[in-house]
Symmetry: C2
Subunit: 120 residues, 2 copies
Amino acid sequence: MEPKYEEGSKDYIAAHEEIVAKVKASQPEDEYLYDLSELFKIFGDSTRIKILYSLFETELCVGDMATILNLSQSSVSHQLRILKDAKLVKFRRDGKSIFYSLDDEHVRTILSMGMEHVEE
Amino acid sequence: MEPKYEEGSKDYIAAHEEIVAKVKASQPEDEYLYDLSELFKIFGDSTRIKILYSLFETELCVGDMATILNLSQSSVSHQLRILKDAKLVKFRRDGKSIFYSLDDEHVRTILSMGMEHVEE
DNA sequence: CTTACATATGAAAGTATATTCATATGTTCA
DNA sequence: TGAACATATGAATATACTTTCATATGTAAG
C-alpha cells in the first residue's frame, strides 16, 4: 500500500489549456494506473527479483530457493506469498515440499524488458 | 534504497543439490538484479506512473502535469527528479517553463508490457 | 500418534519513501 | 532592477515495507 495523502492544491492555472484538456481526456482511470504501479512495485524489490529470476528456467521448492539465494526460509516464504497473491508465481505440493514456478510468460517478458533497459 | 539486513541463515541443507547447483550457476550477479529491481521500483509508485502516462504521447511542463493529475507542484517536481535521475524522462527549458518527455521507447515498452498483464 | 521435516505466519523493529510546507533558484518582462 | 511566474529543494511528518524471531500448520514415516 502506498501512503494516502490529500489531493494536491489546485492553485495553478494551466498554462496550456488545450494540451491539458487533451491529455486529461486520454489519461487512463486512476484505478487502472494504480493497479499498474502495484504490479511494478512487486518487481521493485531485489529479493523478489532474485526469486523470480531463480524460477526463470525451472520450478524450485522454498528451501532450495533460500539456499540458492542465501536468504532465510522465512524471508523467502513471506515474499513468495506476495508473489503468489500478485499471481506472478504458482505452486504445487509434492509431499512435504512446495514447488513454485513462474505463473506465465508475461512475467518472463516483463523481466526481460527490464533487463534490456538496465543493460544499456 | 532498500533496507539492509544480515544474510539469511544457512541452516537448510539443500534437498536437491543438483538443481541447486545448476540454478545457482545460472543466476545473474546480485548487483545486476539489484539494478533491475531499482528500475522497477521507479515504476512502482502511482504518482510516477501517472506522470509517465501523461507523457505517453506528448511533452508537458510541470505545472500542466500538476493540473492534469491533480497533484501539487512540489510533489510532481520531486517525482520528476527521481524519474530524471533514473533516465526515464528528459527535459528541455522553454522560457520559464520546463518541458518533460519520456526518455526513450523502452519506457513506453515497459509500460505497455505492464498494461497487458494488468488488463488480463 | 509421535517425531522430524518443510513451509507459513504474526508481531516487532528498523528503514525507506512520498507528501506537505516553506523557501530558494532561475527566468522573463516591464 | 524589481515583480511575477515556473520550477526545484530541504526538512519534517506520516506511512509502508522487509526482515527477523518465534511459533504454528501441514505432511510423511516409523
